[in-house]
Symmetry: D3
Subunit: 231 residues, 6 copies
């Protein structure tokens, strides 16, 4: 297939939408080819089911107009960063050849997220291997940034913030598509889970002088070719 | 006079309200004696005047039910941390004998704020001097925390966050009392200056699992006597 | 059983006493229900035996007047953060339902401590799962702090320090109960291992203006409801 | 005059060239209007003179094809961040109306650099004042980044690095134009002062995967409108 | 055997040379006994073979005049920090009894390096165990520093930098001995991989005022007995 | 005069002894020439007088066997980092030509300490100036480290810790020589001010595996020429 410009690796269906739905929507508008790989089905959950979750994810995919979305079918709640999971993820990378990977942050109270973060690094490395029995051709995804869908109330200092003001309605619709996860059985009192998501985007928007923003972290230095590329 | 439990030192009338209006309102409700010392009149400004600003400040004082408020009459826009300003501030500390001082953060694009931050430290030290010609008796304000009313879009990692959800309406009224500073001549498009203030409180509220919060910084370690004092 | 207010998860019997014996004793005095879960027997060691260590641990438990103490019987020196250990720890959390967990710090030269730290996070997450085959009812331990019983000579900047001056004798007795670990075969020259433990508490006490203190780390922001809860 | 896109504020003639000569040359090639304001003559120095330094600076200005360069004539070695210096710098900002200011870093063993750094912040603030007796119209320079021309062997973690590989020869020529400062009377043994300058650019180039780079620091978050603007 | 003064643990043959070849050469000149333990063969790679890599490693060993070098034969690209690998590494530590271990940094895009870093800590701890079935006598390697051979373009702030100017030619020869890894099939355009290695040493040399330097990290405080031991 | 190996710049007589008395005593034993420059008399204080303080300082000088000690006679409590104070301090540096300067840390609740810290940097720079009207010949003190005699309960992460176990009694005698400052009128309950000083040294000693240590900070990287120079 034609390579992706952007691939979000999400432990569960809804993590990509919650944290970088705006970057996804914006990139699609900017004519990038954008994909999401969910590592697990995310089920069971208190109010979800395999079918509900799948429908919700399809709806969100539609809203965001994703180029590509698949599910790696790793065991929900029991993701382990072993060699077999590494292999399967590396083979996806070789297949979709993403210019940029967005991976979960490495510190999290949810063990699936911690494992997913490590797997992204490990599989990215394996993806480039020659002389291996991995499917596909060697490919090194040139950029890997971390996003914040964290089960702790922390948001580390980001490397940069993307202005997503122009797509805020669309990206919040993609969030609320996950009714079984974020609305059903949740407190309807202000601030709801959805309020929290939106208002965090407000905070990051303020940091760059816009209405809404999404933060990303790069362990390496940010390189630019002109001062004019900054807000 | 009877000592204050809390004294907020503000470079200009409105800085205390913008950044720690909730902590003020909450402390008043908790029967603390709370004061604000504005260092300057804050005027001239594009849409203010000495009279307007004074009326706005009086209105905010009323809304927050402050125990005490005065103005040190340092030169607006030209606050300099010299020995004379230090003396005058130290004498206020000796007079109101605050258990806790809230001071501006030391990094800021507004030189009055940088100077005010240094003056708080310097005057706190002078306040305790014996064998001096300062008015009043020696007094060491035991605690000094920094608040964030910063003319840069930064909010440093705080030492703790105070839950101000119960007083949010009251503290936002105290903010909007400064019509000439925060509303008049400002964009009425979302996000307005007032939206930015409220939504930052939302972010800090989220970090502690409440609706609204205000961050404070202590350069020293936070000491507690029981785990039950934390949210 | 009635839920615990505080549960210390310790890789080996003596880690809880060495690092947070004062917080334990203080919390017991404050009428909290306090437990310790040792993950392993801690044996073999150069001067210990299963029986000696068990007697020492019983003595310390008595000194601290713990409400509850159990041993998870994971393999000493070979603790691995796998799904089975996670399951067993999660089931303990569901049983004792702690309001606060104290977990080992994640960076350590002792692999059991690194593994124990990760297990606390992982099991805390599993503890809340519905629709699982775990024993007990879903329960989310609302607070998890990290303590410093580290086999490196580091003590990271803590989030807060608890004043344990009032229980210092008691908490040092709980430490010296582990004669086989901390005294037998150790240098009796100043500074002994016990001197080191006590004198580190002095340092942290100094940071908050008291005689003795114990530091704790919270990855999330500290939330308070009143400035008066701080020392 | 037509506003500048970029203004470098340099304590002495050669600081701009040493630290951000590449960003200057690159921005000029990208059709930006670029200026340098030297705060002092930089003289006396061991091997320089007012005339030599002025000729060297003119040569460098020519090499970099600067749009604008002036000298504020503050006292060399004795720059003090007082209100008068603040006024004079603010009036320059109002005159050249720079979209971006590059200011010296605030920590330095050279007191002129520390003072210059503070003056940039202070004068930027005054520049926007209405109802003042400052020359020119109110103007707020929207961006201020810090560059590293530091008399300590430190280079703090930058916010981003600009690829200056395409202008490396040109920017090194601008450096060596300052013969009296960087070559005359200096050791000709490897590594010379000029070697040190070039090789630091190599290090920062490596961090972004290019040959040469120049680091800049932004105290605020970096905002972007598309992931494609990053290297 | 007689104990080693210094043991470098390298995930693959060439990591020791790339990152701390100068420290090795310098220590040998200072009459220390220096060893390298490669954890894997490092093969396959695009341009290498078991035989080529082995010959290259022998050549580098010769150039650096190592006292001791062995290969642990863990699976290249698939190093996992499990108990069996820990055992094997601990038994090496008991055998060579190093006064100082140099271990890979713990954050890396190459999973072998991350695993190797953890293994060094884990095996160091096991090495000291009494009452175990490990080969050899209990031994605690007193110092463990981290070096930077990282597959990310980062070099964390080091604890100290070693001046390697006097051995720079020798240590670069040891690097270029790995022709199949660093030269063959690589771009010959400036900056080559070898240029990058040498120029990073220049940067660290500059930070301590010398021509070339190599950075090391100690998680614990650096202890000295006299100020005269510093450059 | 013959150059000093080490010069401690102290805001008041007792700061040098409180914070680096051990480094002083140790360096004297190691045959270094060590001096202290007190910037002010330190008087008035609640229990001191010019005569008492001078006698105490002389006693401490005797105990530490200092090579050189003088007092710059800047105004106590009112030290300001102006050009005149800079000149006077620079002339001392030119006179005693110290290989290493120990300066106060730059963050402090005592304004004299903040000013003294800046003066050390500023005067060190002026000290090297040629073509100036300063007394003495140009001299650049090659090393400047910061020590911690801070009026906040903070001790920042140091660059290194010096083992002062062998001189602990001597250095504590030098501290208690300041009877009017540290003992008279102070609480005699444990922990006294002197207990706090000694026990902080214990903490830093622990961090390097010795009985007592004193921390120093270097803003630049620590350079060494052999791993064997570290504890």
């Amino acid at each position: 297939m034609e390579p992706l410009d952007l691939l979000v690796v999400a432990p569960h269906p809804d993590d990509a939408e919650i944290s970088v739905g705006g970057i996804i929507a914006l990139s699609v508008r900017q004519k990038m080819r954008v994909g999401v790989l969910d590592l697990t089905t995310g089920e069971p959950t208190p109010h979800g089911s395999l079918q509900k979750r799948s429908e919700e994810s399809s709806a969100a995919t539609e809203i965001l107009q994703l180029t590509w979305r698949e599910n790696l079918q790793l065991p929900n709640r029991s993701v382990v960063p072993d060699l077999e999971a590494r292999r399967r993820l590396a083979e996806v990378f070789r297949n979709v050849r993403p210019a940029t990977i967005l991976a979960p942050y490495w510190q999290d109270a949810h063990p699936d997220h911690v494992a997913a973060s490590q797997l992204c690094d490990d599989a990215r490395f394996w993806s480039k291997l020659s002389r291996s029995d991995l499917d596909g051709d060697p490919f090194w995804p040139p950029r890997l940034f971390h996003y914040f869908s964290i089960h702790l109330r922390i948001q580390p200092p980001p490397s940069f913030v993307v202005d997503v003001s122009s797509v805020i309605e669309q990206r919040m619709q993609a969030v609320t598509a996950y009714h079984s996860q974020l609305i059903e059985g949740r407190s309807q009192e202000f601030p709801t889970v959805v309020d929290d998501i939106r208002d965090r985007l407000r905070y990051w928007g303020w940091t760059i002088g816009t209405a809404y923003g999404e933060p990303l972290l790069n362990r390496e230095a940010i390189g630019i070719t002109s001062l004019s590329s900054l807000i």
